[in-house]
């Protein structure tokens, strides 16, 4: 079973909210990703069953969005911007530092992203899509460690707890 019991109940509730079960594909994909950190094949199969479509359709829908991860991903997703403003204010150094620091930490996945529309606070990054601005490599590392240690609560899109 891809969904935990709690999340399966939630999933059924979500499906019931829509006139057509198919409409629940995206919220269920968020739920599954929040549970596992990424969208597993089993999760997509289960979403297909819950929404009455084929797994190919679920994968087709989910692969449209880069925010759905189709490879294992840590429970903390750190998205570091290296677009123009961040480029000139130190984004690449943050990216390098975090990539090295958390290279073999399964809980943390560091990715490079395009402009987060936070140029005014550059360099910027997101941890599980929560914004943090005006960073240095050291502040960024401390920030991620805060999340890891539970001093900050990582967000999930669906509101589900892992």
């Amino acid at each position: 079973m891809a969904f935990s019991d709690v999340n399966l109940t939630r999933a059924r509730d979500i499906v019931a909210r829509y006139p057509r079960p198919k409409s629940a594909i995206l919220p269920l994909a968020h739920l599954a990703q929040d549970q596992d950190g990424w969208l597993t094949a089993e999760a997509m199969e289960e979403i297909a069953v819950l929404t009455g479509v084929t797994p190919a359709e679920v994968q087709g829908t989910c692969s449209f969005y880069t925010m759905f991860k189709r490879r294992p991903c840590g429970s903390l997703l750190v998205s570091v911007c290296t677009n123009v403003t961040c480029l000139v204010t130190g984004g690449p150094a943050i990216l390098r530092h975090l990539t090295e620091r958390y290279g073999d930490d399964d809980d943390v996945t560091v990715e490079e992203v395009e402009c987060l529309a936070a140029c005014g606070g550059a360099p910027a990054l997101q941890v599980n899509y929560e914004y943090h601005e005006q960073l240095t490599p050291e502040i960024a590392e401390a920030l991620v460690d805060d999340y890891k240690a539970g001093r900050r609560t990582p967000r999930t899109i669906s509101g589900a707890q892992r």
Binding site: P19, A41, Q59, G60
Partner: protein, 913 residues
């Protein structure tokens, strides 16, 4: 025009959960009031119906608007933007495939602005499209090539590196995908979802990375996958049997009908160097809408199988050895004469004939009944529906399904047996809103589209049908399921179309006959008898059934008529297949003719078939292959197959259509009807038939239901003719149709390929002649001919016996046909034989737990007849108390369990672990 914003918004009443509240936001194309509109296309005034799509209206009036995603048989999506046109007063360019015509519309498809837009779209499409046409299967018949030449820039400003992908990737056993060629038109994915109902392919990723995907481990194993190859507008999808086999300009085509099953989908059969290489679907409105199933599409491979018998053989010193035709025919005739002299015509029997053409069937029937004098003739094998029922029920056509008050499917799994008819029923239920009532022993292909499914256990089909017929006839209140079905018909006028077949070969045919009898009581019931074998309907219609003479007349009714036409007919009604096999088993059949039939593998009762084949006297095989049955023959007469002979065939709705010859056989095989005529000559009767057309003309003269369906009509009738043609005159379309605007093989291919050849000969007189009332209604009679016999009508009256009670530990066997079975079409075709599944006994999860076995475990299955060992699996589609095993799968051995003389087959299933 209706604006989407004008759709009234309805508030959800308090307390009603969202899940029970229908959405007001359906995607609807605005239609406006019904009626005719007048619009101007490129300066010409044209009339159209409200609701018509601009692209189609333009096409019907001779203006081709380029397109990629639009397909006449699918809903418009407006994905490719190739069909942009200028409409005065509308801002920007409009996609004509999703624009509905309106009164007063002024459209420019060739203005500078329109051409520039079309040009721009093509240049964008070509950004990532490789220019590898010389090594692409589509090169030479490619819509993208053609459209680029006609509407495009010819030269791209894009100089950067194009996309690269691993190529090709198989998306199923039969279909390969070269992703870099894909232009994301969505034809394949829409077909899979909308038409086939197998949404196993979808678009993945986005932007320049968009690709057609399958889910890992879940390939595009649709029975209809080959259609995506045909409708793909580029070379992105290719079929393994055709890939790199030929270039389009080397091919020549003939229009034909697929005879792999009894739907007879129209197709264009293509060959290169005397080898069949491809069958493309032709869009016939009354039959197949252009679709083919994969078995039909790729089954042509059987024709070129290495195992074909190429020359006649006779048995010498216990071995079949090649010989000359005269020798083989003489030996066969001698054998027949000996049997006749010693034991009379009753000792001769003829089995099979469902694989041939109507001409074959007719000449065999004339040979057996008019020359040999035996009525022991049957084109079925104890797995069908008796001819008095099949030929005598009030009939419906396939197109009647679209406008029926309701469709009742009795027994068979249409998806497995007659796939393209399945698509039609699915469409009627899903798209056209026709209530679909299913009566079946388990969940099967159509179940998900059924408005209501009534489960009937083996042996109870007749009783279930009685309750349904009662409720449909107004007597409600005894059966909730039947009442629910009847409620679906409220407010719906029209016929109830019953699709009748044998869903369970372990249940005696009497059950099906009883079901037909019950439903036939309803005055509005009309039937499509869905027997699967290729031309079984044509064979029965033309006399290859006991008690019948050609043209749906009984032996008794037609005695005088055929006595006059043929000289003589058998004195009494003969045996059906089961009777023939029993008589043979008891040594009473001294000469047995097997016409392309394999009782050993294809008769539900294996012990009976085996005993009969061993005990039969002189055996003549008229076949293309040595099978488990024909290997025992004393003489082997090799026949030409589909694609190697011209003629006509009759599909399950009674439509007579032509099949074309495209290649000549290797070796010296002959068409069946010629062999029959040669044997008749050796028995002293000269049929004087030289060409298939002469046989067609004779059929039209003497077979009452085929009156008027002669070679002229068959050549001119675009969609064939439904017999008896006097009842279906209005449906005849004569002569060539409007020639397609492009000859692209991806557009719905119009029927009439062959009719086009006849263009020169077409005159007004000719048309009038083809439809002349006296040709269609009366037989050209010689002086002194008796009055034509009346067509047979089934009047019911057959009863079945209640099945014996099932003891609590037994499971009642259901065995039905699967598409990829052990038949010769699949076995002798390289691509299809890969697709045959391993036999597994399916039981309900409750029964599995009761028996205490794991899925995949081996079990011993025992019936009163025999036993076998095979794997078991639980499946929720199977009803408790029943067990399902596919029929005629290599290794399933199910025919070892069945006894044709019993009403049902009960099984014991024991765990072996």
């Amino acid at each position: 025009m209706t604006d989407v914003n004008d759709v009234p918004k309805v508030e959800r009443p308090p307390g009603v959960p969202m899940s029970q509240w229908p959405s007001a936001y359906e995607y609807v194309l605005p239609t406006g009031a019904p009626g005719t509109v007048t619009l101007t296309i490129d300066g010409r005034e044209v009339k159209a119906q409200t609701g018509d799509l601009l692209i189609k209206v333009a096409q019907d009036h001779g203006t081709y608007i380029p397109r990629f995603c639009y397909h006449e048989r699918m809903k418009p999506v407006g994905m490719c933007r190739m069909c942009l046109v200028e409409v005065e007063g509308m801002r920007g360019m409009q996609i004509s495939c999703a624009t509905v015509v309106a009164d007063g519309m002024v459209v420019h498809t060739q203005s500078d602005a329109a051409r520039q837009a079309q040009d721009g779209v093509l240049e964008l499409l070509l950004i990532n499209h490789p220019l590898d046409c010389p090594v692409c299967d589509r090169g030479g018949e490619c819509p993208l090539q053609d459209t680029t030449l006609a509407f495009g820039p010819g030269e791209s400003r894009f100089v950067e590196e194009k996309r690269h992908w691993e190529k090709p990737i198989p998306i199923s056993e039969l279909v390969l995908l070269d992703r870099e060629r894909c232009i994301q038109c969505g034809r394949c994915t829409r077909f899979a979802d909308e038409i086939a109902g197998d949404a196993l392919i979808a678009f993945g990723s986005r932007g320049a990375h968009t690709e057609v995907i399958t889910f890992p481990g879940d390939p595009f194993t649709s029975y209809f996958s080959g259609n995506t190859v045909q409708i793909c507008p580029v070379g992105a999808l290719t079929a393994t049997p055709y890939r790199f086999r030929a270039r389009p300009w080397d091919l020549s085509a003939v229009e034909t009908s697929c005879t792999t099953c009894s739907v007879h989908c129209r197709g264009a059969l293509e060959s290169s160097s005397n080898r069949l290489v491809r069958l493309l679907g032709v869009d016939s409105e009354p039959v197949n809408h252009g679709w083919l199933c994969d078995k039909g599409r790729f089954g042509y491979e059987v024709v070129h199988s290495e195992d074909r018998v190429r020359h006649p053989m006779v048995r010498k010193n216990g071995e079949l050895v090649e010989c000359s035709w005269p020798e083989a025919l003489d030996v066969a005739a001698e054998g027949l004469k000996r049997a006749l002299e010693l034991n009379g015509p009753k000792s001769v029997a003829l089995l099979g004939g469902a694989r041939g053409t109507n001409e074959d069937a007719y000449v065999w029937a004339r040979f057996a009944k008019g020359v040999v004098g035996t009525d022991n003739v049957d084109a079925q094998l104890g797995d069908g529906i008796p001819a008095e029922v099949a030929l005598g029920l009030p009939e419906a056509t396939i197109a009647d399904l679209d406008r029926a008050a309701a469709i009742v499917v009795v027994g068979l799994d249409l998806k497995e047996e007659v796939p393209v008819l399945y698509l039609r029923v699915k469409r009627a239920a899903e798209e056209l809103g026709v209530p679909l009532i299913e009566l079946a022993p388990r969940d099967q292909g159509l179940t998900r589209y059924a408005s209501t499914s009534i489960r009937s256990l083996p042996g109870e089909q007749g009783e279930t049908a009685r309750r349904l017929a009662d409720a449909l006839g107004g007597a409600r209140g005894t059966d909730a399921g039947a009442d629910a079905a009847a409620a679906l018909l409220e407010g719906r006028a029209g016929d109830i179309v019953v699709v009748l077949g044998r869903g369970d070969l372990a249940e005696s045919a009497a059950s099906t006959v009883r079901a037909a009898t019950e439903l036939a009581r309803l005055p509005q019931a009309r039937f499509i008898v869905a027997l699967r074998r290729g031309n079984v309907r044509g064979a029965m219609d033309l006399g290859l059934a006991p008690g019948f003479l050609p043209g749906r007349v009984t032996l008794d009714a037609g005695r005088e008529w055929f006595g006059h036409a043929w000289g003589s007919v058998p004195a009494t009604v003969g045996l059906d297949a089961e009777g023939i096999l029993r008589a043979a088993e008891q040594g009473r059949i001294h000469a047995l003719m097997l016409l392309g039939t394999d009782p050993h593998d294809d008769c539900p009762d294996h012990a009976l078939a085996e005993g009969a084949l061993n005990a039969a006297g002189f055996t003549i095989a008229i076949d293309a292959f040595v099978t488990d049955s024909t290997k025992r023959a004393d003489v082997f007469l090799p026949v030409t197959m589909w694609g190697e002979k011209a003629g006509s065939v009759t599909n399950l709705e009674g439509r007579v259509q032509r099949v074309g010859q495209k290649v000549s056989p290797d070796g010296t095989a002959m068409p069946d009807w010629r062999i029959a005529a040669e044997l008749a000559l050796r028995l002293g009767v000269d049929f004087d038939l030289e060409q298939p057309e002469e046989v067609q003309d004779e059929i039209a003269r003497v077979a009452p239901a085929y009156t008027g369906i002669d070679s002229t009509l068959l050549r001119r009738a675009r969609d064939g003719a439904v017999a008896p043609v006097a009842d279906h005159r209005d449906e005849l379309v004569l002569g060539p149709v409007s020639i397609p605007l492009t000859d692209a093989r991806w557009e719905p291919i119009r029927p009439g390929l062959d009719a086009v050849e006849l263009e020169d000969a077409k005159t007004a007189n000719d048309e009038a002649d083809a439809l002349r009332a006296d040709r269609l209604t009366s037989v050209a009679q010689s002086a002194g001919a008796p009055p034509a016999p009346a067509l047979h009508r089934f009047t019911g009256g057959v009863t079945d016996t209640a099945p014996p009670a099932r003891d609590a530990y037994a499971l009642r066997l259901v065995t039905g046909r699967t598409l990829y079975d052990g038949g010769i079409t699949v076995a002798a075709s390289d691509s299809l034989s890969e697709l045959v599944a391993d036999p597994v006994l399916l039981i309900s999860p409750q029964d599995r737990d009761r028996i205490g076995v794991e899925d995949g475990a081996e079990v011993r299955v025992t019936s009163a007849r025999g036993s076998l060992t095979l794997a078991v699996r639980a499946d929720a589609a199977i009803g408790t108390g029943t067990a399902y095993l596919p029929f005629n799968l290599p290794g399933s051995g199910v025919s070892d369990l069945v006894d044709l003389s019993t009403a049902v087959t009960d099984l014991r299933v024991e765990s072996l672990s």
